[in-house]
């Protein structure tokens, strides 16, 4: 257990030491989105009844930041350690594959929550944002960031160069997170795009997370929770299998 604690602590320390880049920068980015979209769409009709557009945006931006940062934390830590060679210190230790995986994903969840709290803390200064269902909020936050943390483990193990990882991030994670209903409601889309959007697992994370704030959502929160949990389990099983087999880690 102590080995796991140490790796978890080391991964926390890794992003904490560069918090300006890992916490503050994503918070500022999310707030810029908020500023731009809120100003641009000022006065448009409420997407959810009784909820101003700017308030509607905040949970989506929080979850999008969590998703992107959870992914970035595990994937960048792994690729840096692989390329600089210092991953050897972990591989030489008696840590199990499960300890390895959980420590990396655990730290990515913490970073995701730090960013989310930062965005929330700054946003509520301007927009009142009550929390209707805190349990759902925490559950979606945990499962969503764990899933993307696990996906980051897969990408970090698979990628052998920084540009491969950047490709994964720019062509998979960012499009999926932008097209997951952060800026609009599923109901605003034409039927075809609604169907396509329903294939995006990140949609359920954002919709469910938003339900935690407003108590209303496009998809049933229980269904979203089940789908997000299933996605989280699936990527975790795959990531664990790769770590356990030592794929691209232990020759």
């Amino acid at each position: 257990m102590k080995g796991f604690n140490t790796l978890f602590y080391k991964e926390l320390l890794r992003f904490y030491k560069v918090a300006f880049q890992t916490i503050f920068a994503p918070v500022v980015t999310a707030l810029l989105y908020l500023l731009v979209f809120a100003s641009t769409f000022k006065g448009r009709a409420d997407i959810l009844p009784g909820i101003p557009y700017v308030a509607f945006l905040i949970p989506g931006l929080m979850m999008m930041s969590m998703i992107q940062n959870a992914f970035a934390n595990t994937s960048s830590s792994l690729i840096q350690s692989k390329i600089t060679g210092n991953l050897i210190f972990i591989l030489l230790s008696p840590l199990s594959a499960a300890e390895f995986f959980l420590a990396f994903v655990g730290a990515s969840i913490v970073r995701a929550f730090c960013v989310a709290v930062g965005v929330y803390g700054a946003a509520v200064l301007f927009v009142p944002l009550p929390i209707e269902h805190p349990v759902f909020l925490v559950l979606f936050g945990l499962l969503g960031s764990a899933a993307l943390g696990a996906l980051g483990v897969i990408a970090g193990i698979w990628a052998e160069r920084f540009d491969q990882l950047a490709g994964f991030q720019n062509f998979v994670v960012i499009p999926l997170s932008f097209l997951s209903g952060v800026f609009y409601s599923l109901r605003d889309l034409p039927p075809f795009w609604q169907t396509v959007s329903r294939l995006n697992p990140l949609l359920y994370m954002i919709d469910g997370f938003r339900y935690g704030f407003f108590g209303t959502s496009d998809v049933s929160p229980i269904l979203s929770l089940a789908l997000v949990a299933a996605f989280c389990v699936a990527v975790s099983v795959l990531a664990m299998a790769l770590v356990g087999r030592g794929y691209r880690l232990r020759n």
Binding site: L13, I90, S93, L95, R250
Partner: protein
Amino acid sequence: MKAACSAPAIEVVGLHKHFARVHAVRGIDLEVRSGEFFGLLGPNGAGKSTLINILAGLTRPDEGRAAICGHDVIANYREARRALGVVPQEIVFDPFFSVREVLAIQAGYFGLGGRDNKAWREELLHTLMLADKGDANMRALSGGMKRRVLIAQALVHRPQVVILDEPTAGVDVELRASLWLFVRRLHKEGHTIVLTTHYLEEAEALCERIAIMRDGQIAALDTKEALLSRAVSKTLRVTTAEPAASVPPRLESKLRKRAGNILEFSLRAGTDSIPEVLESLRVAGHVVTDIATEQASLEEVFLALTQGRTATGSR
């Protein structure tokens, strides 16, 4: 943790490893006894690093098994890794942390971190002349210092078996001497030391038994003395009362050097005899006042066993 193992320090049976078309390790059997100072030599590409990586769990073998202190490196990897400390060949470091943080983290991976371990970590810093750099970031250290940190990291959990993979490459003479003093101390305390080095004089000075690898196999494995006795030649240095202008014709082919009244002959082991050389000199009228013999170096044995091999780079 006790310094000695109750089982062989390293046991390798029928080990094979392929990388694409390269058969890097070809059926190695090897046993290193607990408490030995063991040398693992061979040219680049001989398979030393692959063998070490298999022992460390960094590479999975295709066939065969390996154990550290009786613990299988795959089935009982936790115990095997607790018993093993590896100083990697390449200088690698984590740029986010200071030296003390790096050592504390490494100890933590092994479940250690109490007061005893902290005292040991400080002792390592002191012994490796890093005490004043303890709070410096890894990026701020010179190459030699980074290598010393690697050594400290490998020893932080007091492993019974220590593998030093070319630990003195690029290390200055003074540090090299202090490093060997420290390694000798570990050996004296009962730790098993496995050393790979390109400085053959280091292996000759330190190791009790030596394995020479070639083409993924063990070309020779013996005590240092037995290996040296395989040498094809040794040197006989003769001092004569007067400078010798010539030597008897039958000795001319063996004469390697003539300087004043010193004659140096290269004798083939097993066929040339020292008394016969001395007798020939006496018959030719030379008065021999002193003789000295010099055994061949490990380098000569190494070259004889590995010659014809093209270096292909370390794996």
